[in-house]
C-alpha cells in the first residue's frame, strides 16, 4: 500500500510519517479543507441513505474519495473550471451549487431542478459517459488562452477512463496545444468489477503521461493536503504556459461502485479493510488534532454545521414537486421550441398525466430494478 513514488503529506500512522505542511496552507485554509471534506462526506452518507429509503434513485457513492475532490477543488482559483464525472457528482456544492440541486439530479429531476448554469459556478454538468468530458476541459482552457485569460481547467476521471479513446485524444490535444489543463485521475483501482490489472498493463496511471511528454504525478488519494498541493503545483505550471499535467491520485474504492452494485461478487472485502484506515476524513481529522488545528469542540460544531446544511438540502429536495411534464421541452434548444415540440406538446396535453413517479426502484411495468444501473 505504501509506495515511495506516491506523494503524501499527512502521515498514515504507520509507515508514512507526517510531512511538512505547504506554506500556502495556514490554519484557516486547513480548516476550510477539512470543512469541505466533511460537507462532501455528509452529503454522500446522506445520499446513500436516501437511496436506501427510496427517496432518490441509484446513487454513485464516493465515500473515501473526498480528498481527491476537495483537495483539487480548493487548489483551483475561483475562475478555473472543473469537469466532474458522476463520481464527483457533489463537487458543485463547494462552488455554490445548491446541494439540493445535486440531490434532485439523483432523484431524477432535470431542468432547473437538477441542472445548473455551468458559467455561474465554473462547474460543468456531471458527466456520465466515461472520459467524454476530457476534451471539453481541454477546449475550455484552450479558449481561455485564445482570449488571453489565465483561466485553467481541471477534469476528474477514473482509472477505467484511461482506457477510452477520449482520454488519449484529450491528453494529446492538451499537450500539443499546451492548454492549461489538469487531468486528475482518481485511481481507485476498480472500474465497477474490473480491477486495474485488467484495465492497463502499466503499474501506474501516471506513467501514461510519457506518451504526451507531460508530467505525470502520483499522489496519495486519501491525503487531502497532498492532493491540494500537487494540483496547485500543476495549475501554476499550467498558468505559466507550460501545459497540462496528469495527476494520479492513488487510492482504493472503499465502497460499492454504486448503490446498484454488489462488490462481494467480485472482490474480497478483506482487501478493503486493509485500506480503510486511510479514509481521508478520519485521517485528516486526527492529523489536525495532532498539529493542534482542530479540537473536539470545534470539530463537533463543524460536524453539526455540515449535518444541518445537508439536512436543509434534503428538505429542499423533498419539497420539490414533480416537475411539470412540459419540462420535457424546456429547453432543448436555446433558440426556442421548433414546431416539432409544439406538436408534441399538443399530443402530450391531450392525455391525462401518468401517476407521479416515485424515485424508488423500478417502474411498474419494469423489473429491471436497482441492479443494472451504473452511472
Amino acid at each position: 500500500m505504501s509506495d515511495s513514488t506516491v506523494f503524501h503529506i499527512i502521515g498514515d500512522g504507520r509507515d508514512k510519517p507526517d510531512r511538512e505542511v505547504p506554506r500556502e496552507l495556514g490554519e484557516k485554509e486547513l480548516v476550510e479543507l477539512w470543512r469541505a471534506l466533511l460537507l462532501l462526506r455528509t452529503f454522500d452518507e446522506r445520499a446513500t441513505a436516501l437511496q436506501r429509503q427510496g427517496r432518490i434513485g441509484t446513487y454513485a457513492l464516493y465515500w473515501g474519495e473526498e480528498a481527491t475532490q476537495a483537495g483539487p477543488l480548493l487548489a483551483c482559483e475561483d475562475a478555473d473550471w472543473v469537469f466532474p464525472s458522476y463520481r464527483q457528482n457533489a463537487i458543485g456544492i463547494l462552488r455554490g451549487v445548491p446541494a439540493a440541486t445535486v440531490l434532485a439530479w439523483w432523484r431524477g429531476y432535470g431542468g432547473s431542478y437538477g441542472f445548473w448554469n455551468p458559467r455561474e459556478h465554473r462547474v460543468a454538468p456531471i458527466c456520465v459517459p466515461i472520459a467524454t468530458h476530457l476534451p471539453h476541459a481541454v477546449g475550455l482552457a484552450w479558449a481561455a488562452r485564445i482570449r488571453g485569460d489565465r483561466t485553467a481547467s481541471l477534469a476528474w476521471f477514473g482509472d477505467g477512463a484511461t482506457s477510452e479513446g477520449d482520454f488519449h485524444e484529450a491528453l494529446n490535444f492538451a499537450s500539443v496545444l499546451k492548454t492549461a489543463t489538469v487531468f486528475f485521475c482518481v485511481n481507485n483501482q476498480w472500474a465497477i468489477s474490473t480491477p486495474l490489472s485488467k484495465q492497463t498493463a502499466t503499474a501506474t496511471i501516471a506513467e501514461k503521461a510519457t506518451a504526451y511528454a507531460i508530467p505525470g504525478v502520483r499522489v496519495d488519494g486519501f491525503d487531502p493536503v497532498a492532493c491540494w498541493k500537487v494540483t496547485r503545483d500543476a495549475l501554476e505550471r499550467a498558468r505559466a504556459g507550460e501545459g497540462p499535467t496528469l495527476i494520479e491520485a492513488y487510492c482504493y474504492r472503499l465502497k460499492a461502485h454504486g448503490t446498484a452494485d454488489d462488490p462481494s461478487l467480485y472482490r474480497d472485502e478483506a482487501e478493503v479493510e486493509r485500506w480503510m484506515h486511510l479514509e481521508p476524513l478520519g485521517r485528516m481529522g486526527a492529523w489536525l488534532h495532532r498539529i493542534g488545528v482542530l479540537d473536539p469542540d470545534k470539530e463537533s460544531v463543524m460536524r453539526a454545521e455540515a449535518r444541518d446544511a445537508i439536512a436543509a438540502a434534503v428538505a429542499d429536495m423533498e419539497a420539490l414537486a414533480q416537475p411539470d411534464r412540459e419540462i420535457l421541452f424546456d429547453p432543448v434548444y436555446a433558440s426556442g421550441r421548433p414546431w416539432t415540440h409544439e406538436e408534441a406538446l399538443a399530443e402530450l396535453r391531450a392525455v391525462a398525466r401518468p401517476p407521479e413517479v416515485k424515485p424508488l426502484g423500478p417502474a411498474p411495468s419494469s423489473g429491471a430494478g436497482e441492479e443494472g444501473k451504473t452511472q
Binding site: G57, T58, W105, W106, R107, G108, Y109, G110, I126, V128, P129, I130, G160, A161, S163, E164, G165, D166, A191, I192, S193, T194, K198, Q199, T200, D262, L265, Y266, Q322, P323, R325, I327, L328, F329, V332, P338, T340, H341, A344, E347, L348, A350, V351, R353, P354, V357, P359, L360, G361, P362, A363, S365, S366, G367, A368, G369, E371, G372, K373, T374
Partner: protein, 331 residues
C-alpha cells in the same frame, strides 16, 4: 427475459466453441443486468472476458476475432455507451462482407440493453435502433418476449451477418414465460432456418379494425391498449411485434395494414426519422388505397431522454397509444 437471453447464450456457447462473450463487467459479475451470469464459470475466462473500458476497442476487437473465425458476442453496457463504438459498427462491421466479396462478413452480435422506464440515471435510456437501421450492412433484431429473446439470441449468433441485438431493458424482468431447454434448432447449423423463424414479424394479437405496429418494450403496452380499445371502444386492434427492425417484414406490415385499413406505429425513440417514419412510408406506398386514415405515430418526442422523474411523461403510455389509436380511428 434476462434468463432467456442467458439461456440462449449458454446454449450457443455449449454448441459452438467459436462463440465468445466480451464486454465491460460481463465475466466476473455476469454483467450489470446479469445477462451473462454464470458463463465465466461454465466456459472459462478465455471465452468470457472482462475487457478494458473502451467501446471502439471492444467492437473493433470483435470484428478482428470474427475475421479469424470466432463468433463474438459483445455487450454494450447501456445504449448511450454504444456511441464511442459507433464508427466500428457502421463503417467496419456493416461493410466487411461488402469489402471482402461477401466472403468474410463481420459475424458479430452487438447486444445493446436499450430504452427507458427503469428509473435509470441520466444518459442510460436511449433508443438508438433507427440509427442502425439506416446503415446498410447491419441486421437489427429486437425481442419482446422471453421465448423470442432466447431464440433470437441463438439465431443472431448463428447468422453470418453482423446483428445489432436490441434488448428492451424495461421488460428484462417482465412477462415471465416458459422457455424450454431444447434449442429450437442446432445452433451450429441453424442459420437460415433459425433466422427465418425469428427475423419476421409476429402477430401478438389478432384484430381487424386497427393494426398497432411496434417492437420491444412497447409491445406489452400495445397489447394492453388493444384490450382497452376492445372493452371501451369495441375496436379489435391487431398488435404486430416487428421483431426484425432491419430488414423490416414488409409483407406482414402491408398485410396487416391492408386488412385493417388503419395503422398506428408505436416506438420509444424520438419521432423524426425514426422507424415509425419508415413503417408509415412503407404502408402508404403500398397500401394507400386500402387505408381509411393516414398511418399514425405514437413515439418518444424529439427531445433528449428526460431525467427519470419525468420519463413516464416522455414514454409512450397505454393512454397515449389509445389516444393515438382513436385519432386514427376517428379520421
Amino acid at each position: 427475459m434476462v434468463e432467456a437471453l442467458n439461456l440462449g447464450l449458454r446454449q450457443a456457447m455449449a454448441a459452438d466453441e467459436r462463440v465468445v462473450v466480451l464486454g465491460e463487467d460481463v465475466a466476473k459479475t455476469g454483467g450489470v443486468f446479469r445477462v451473462t451470469a454464470g458463463l465465466l464459470d461454465e466456459f472459462g475466462e478465455a471465452r468470457v472476458v472482462d475487457t478494458p473500458l473502451a467501446e471502439a476497442g471492444l467492437v473493433g476487437s470483435a470484428i478482428g476475432m470474427s475475421l479469424y473465425g470466432l463468433l463474438p458476442v459483445v455487450e454494450i453496457q447501456f445504449d448511450v455507451f454504444v456511441y464511442p463504438g459507433f464508427e466500428q459498427i457502421v463503417v467496419h462491421a456493416a461493410r466487411y462482407a461488402w469489402r471482402t466479396r461477401g466472403e468474410v462478413p463481420a459475424s458479430i452480435v452487438v447486444r445493446i440493453p436499450y430504452g427507458g422506464g427503469v428509473r435509470a440515471p441520466e444518459l442510460h435510456s436511449d433508443s438508438p435502433e433507427a440509427l442502425f437501421c439506416h446503415v446498410p450492412g447491419l441486421k437489427v433484431l429486437c425481442p419482446a418476449t422471453p421465448v423470442d429473446a432466447r431464440d433470437m439470441m441463438l439465431a443472431a449468433i448463428a447468422h453470418p451477418d453482423p446483428v445489432i441485438f436490441m434488448e428492451p431493458k424495461r421488460i428484462y424482468r417482465a412477462g415471465r414465460q416458459h422457455v424450454d431447454d431444447q434449442p429450437p434448432f442446432d445452433p451450429r447449423t441453424g442459420d437460415g432456418e433459425a433466422w427465418g423463424a425469428v427475423a419476421c414479424a409476429r402477430t401478438a394479437r389478432a384484430g381487424s379494425d386497427l393494426a398497432l405496429i411496434t417492437y420491444g418494450a412497447t409491445v406489452p403496452l400495445c397489447l394492453e391498449a388493444a384490450e382497452r380499445l376492445s372493452s371501451t371502444d369495441a375496436v379489435e386492434a391487431a398488435v404486430i411485434d416487428l421483431r426484425a427492425l432491419y430488414p423490416l417484414d414488409v409483407e406482414a406490415i402491408t398485410q396487416a395494414a391492408s386488412s385493417c385499413g388503419r395503422v398506428l406505429v408505436v416506438h420509444e425513440a424520438p419521432r423524426t426519422a425514426g422507424l415509425g417514419a419508415e413503417v408509415s412510408s412503407l404502408v402508404h406506398e403500398r397500401c394507400m388505397l386500402d387505408l381509411e386514415a393516414p398511418v399514425g405515430r405514437v413515439t418518444g418526442y424529439d427531445v433528449p431522454f428526460p431525467q427519470f422523474i419525468n420519463e413516464d411523461d416522455y414514454l409512450p403510455s397505454v393512454e397515449r397509444i389509445v389516444a393515438g389509436a382513436r385519432r386514427v380511428l376517428d379520421f
